[in-house]
């Protein structure tokens, strides 16, 4: 008999007042009993609407059926056929707009907690197996993958499973891309990413850190070195700024810099070599998931007050609902319908050498109102004249988006990009305008989600396999 409870089993979590001061994972995960109870809510629909909502088409009812049978490893194997990074996706996927949005149970009540079940299965697998993957038989073909973020790791994993000899090139000193430099420990523990990377290595994938494709080696040189196809998953690295006065003051960071200092450079661990502003009053400008990550990181680094400053209203705020709720629970204050016009700096009129000169002492903002919807249906914010106000802050984190990194495009002849800098690809294959070169993830789309990048890595792996099997 299915469990007909209209509500999902709640996710056990650290209490907001506790977790706001530590970097441990917020959500603690289902135990076996809860997972079985939640799995029993799945009706095992014949037409499987949930699968159509998944960018990598995980066979969701099938893995949930395995949970019902208490065959947790079997459930893992079902997920693993479609996804290379289940422990990651179970944590950071926006299930509410994907698989769970299509769930029949969601019509009258809450959908099945598919993401929570995926996480349970992946964590069970990681805790109960030694992680030694079967090494596939080699097919003699060499493929290079540029970037070790979600799209690159997925593409590498899928190709390795098919017997390709894959080398992943990473510019930074640690593999994982945005999963290690961007997403904080409290949402995605580093150990989980490391485990996924180690799984790939166990399958025979080579990971070369400290190689910047476009600088250390070019795409053409990769072909000269014997690689027969190249996948570019270099992400959307370049942070945008607002170009308002005061952005070069001391205490102003891009979200990338702030999060990289905390995550990759481990300021969150009190690493004594990485400086970052701690404590004080922080304004994070922007309303995406990255802005939520930055705001919640600021709290955990000891900030006494953290604002999110966003120019539209809560309705348009692009971050995941769950992240917004978590941020509010933890005490982040949302200044909606507001936009910075200037960041104010300290200036000692009597002492040009005062070390405090040039540090942030506030942020001048203006109130906005929403006008008519634009061609994309989003209501555009219009400044309200004379409504300027000043926020008393000493740190400002700009989290207003990123654009693709031009390093590869500028050094690869024949690789075309659109006017926003995204690499142009054929959507069904990820093939670029250059023979043998495929691309996916944020390098193509601009800033998007982990799972859509994984979907693109998957599509490209399939296309590369077809291309090299000819």
């Amino acid at each position: 008999m299915p469990n007909m409870s209209p509500k999902k089993n709640a996710m056990p979590s650290q209490a907001p007042e506790v977790r706001a001061h530590n970097f441990d994972e917020v959500a603690l995960g289902y135990d076996e009993a809860t997972a079985l109870d939640e799995a029993a809510r799945c009706l095992n629909c014949k037409n499987m609407p949930c699968v159509t909502g998944c960018p990598v088409n995980i066979h969701i009812p099938e893995f949930i059926s395995k949970i019902k049978e208490c065959d947790f490893e079997g459930a893992y194997q079902v997920i693993n056929r479609s996804s290379s990074l289940p422990a990651v996706c179970g944590r950071v996927c926006p299930q509410e707009t994907q698989c769970e949005a299509k769930c029949v149970r969601g019509i009258k009540g809450e959908p099945v907690g598919i993401g929570r079940l995926e996480r349970f299965v992946a964590d069970w697998h990681n805790a109960h197996t030694d992680g030694v993957a079967d090494i596939p038989e080699t097919n003699g073909h060499k493929v290079a993958v540029v970037g070790s973020g979600p799209s690159g790791l997925t593409c590498a994993g899928d190709l390795a499973k098919k017997g390709y000899s894959v080398t992943v090139y990473e510019a930074l000193h640690t593999a994982g891309g945005v999963l290690v430099y961007g997403i904080p420990e409290f949402r995605l523990p580093k150990a989980i990413v490391k485990k996924e990377v180690d799984n790939l290595k166990a399958m025979g994938v080579t990971i070369e850190t400290n190689v910047v494709i476009g600088k250390t080696l070019t795409v053409d040189e990769l072909f000269e070195m014997g690689f027969e196809a190249v996948f570019i998953g270099s992400g959307a690295g370049l942070p945008s700024f607002m170009n308002i006065p005061g952005e070069s003051l001391k205490g102003v960071y891009s979200a990338n810099e702030y999060l990289t200092r905390s995550n990759l450079m481990k300021a969150y661990l009190d690493n004594p070599v990485t400086p970052i502003s701690k404590g004080g009053r922080v304004a994070v400008v922007g309303g995406g998931n990255v802005a939520m990550d930055a705001a919640r990181t600021a709290l955990r680094l000891g900030a006494e007050k953290v604002y999110i400053v966003y120019r539209r209203s809560m309705e348009e705020l692009p971050a995941r609902r769950e992240e917004v709720e978590h941020a509010i629970e933890e005490g982040v204050e949302f200044m909606l319908l507001g936009s910075p016009v200037e960041i104010l700096g300290y200036r000692n009129p009597d002492d040009k050498r005062d070390p405090k000169n040039g540090t942030v002492i506030g942020m001048k903002c203006i109130k906005m109102e929403l006008g008519e919807p634009d061609e994309r249906g989003r209501r555009s914010p219009i400044p309200v004249e004379g409504s300027e106000f000043t926020l008393d802050v000493d740190t400002v984190v700009m989290s207003i988006g990123t654009s693709p990194n031009p390093l590869i495009k500028s050094t690869t002849e024949g690789l075309e990009t659109n006017k926003r800098g995204g690499i142009i690809v054929e959507e069904s294959t990820g093939a670029t305008t250059k023979m043998g070169v495929y691309a996916g993830g944020d390098a193509v789309t601009g800033a998007a989600t982990v799972i859509s990048a994984m979907g693109a890595g998957k599509v490209a792996a399939k296309a590369i396999d077809e291309y090299l099997s000819k």
């Binding site: 910047v212 810099e257 990194n405």
Partner: protein
């Protein structure tokens, strides 16, 4: 890991290392930089490339011991390895077709200016070099500059060696005497570069400066190295490190350079204390 193959102390606070990094050595050009980490969990620091040997697969760096990381790096000996070494990053200094150039280096900046002088000299360009130091015991690379230059001016702030004064003194004299160059290329402390730019501005000669701001990844990702150039935000790591000196906002760059000064000073002291304890 990246092995140290050669080490030489140039003065009490400046050290030269050759480091095995064949991929970087194969591509390096004057004006580009690398980023290194001395050990696991170490800080990433950018250093401009001071030379390279493509056949031996080594890259030369010259650094001043200013903080915790450079202190730790200086404790490494030949045969030891460092954790990470990535590059070459940034754009190379544009040297094509130049016939007459003035190179102005200050302090440890001379280490970065030298490969540019050498490359120009090898191309048959007429090279005038002006190198300045605070005092005699901080002097580095005089012989090397002498070999790569048609004319060399050595200056010390305190007059303890060669001529007393800053690098602008001979520069202004040359300009006053009607001497002209196709380019002035200056590398050194921000305040020195600012003055070289101001000395050169009235002549209209293009003046190129090499910026070395706070940086993490070196590929354009963090935006920490941003500078205001011609009123626009530029990233030193991908748009530079060379910029048109007339366009650079030096005052804001100098201010940003002090963003973590207290932290850095504290970290340096801690590291020195650790070394004292372990001895």
């Amino acid at each position: 890991m990246y092995r140290i193959t050669y080490k030489k102390s140039l003065n009490p606070t400046v050290t030269m290392l050759d480091i095995e990094a064949p991929l970087v050595a194969r591509k390096a050009k004057p004006g580009q930089f690398i980023i290194l980490r001395v050990d696991e969990d170490g800080e990433r620091i950018p250093l401009t490339i001071a030379g390279y040997d493509r056949e031996a697969g080594t890259v030369r760096i010259i650094f001043q011991i200013v903080g915790a990381t450079t202190e730790k790096l200086n404790r490494k000996e030949v045969g030891d390895s460092i954790q990470d070494f990535v590059g070459p990053l940034g754009t190379a200094t544009e040297l094509d077709g130049l016939k007459k150039v003035c190179i102005v280096g200050g302090g440890v900046g001379c280490a970065i200016a030298l490969p540019i002088a050498e490359a120009l000299h090898e191309m048959g360009c007429e090279v005038t070099s002006v190198i300045g130091f605070r005092s005699k015991d901080l002097l580095i690379l005089e012989d090397e500059f002498s070999a790569a230059s048609d004319r060399l001016f050595v200056m010390t702030d305190d007059g303890s060696y060669a001529r007393q004064g800053n690098v602008c003194v001979p520069l202004n004299e040359m300009f006053a005497a009607g001497e002209r160059f196709e380019k002035v290329i200056t590398i050194g402390p921000l305040v020195m570069m600012k003055f070289v730019v101001e000395a050169t501005r009235p002549t209209g000669i293009p003046c190129i400066v090499s910026m070395n701001p706070i940086m993490i990844d070196g590929t354009g990702m963090c935006g920490g190295c941003r500078l205001t150039v011609g009123g626009k935000t530029k990233f030193a790591c991908v748009d530079g490190p060379d910029f048109d000196g007339y366009e650079v906002d030096f005052d804001s760059a100098m201010e940003r350079g002090t963003m973590f000064r207290d932290f850095e000073r504290h970290a340096h002291e801690e590291t020195c204390n650790l070394f004292k304890k372990s001895v």
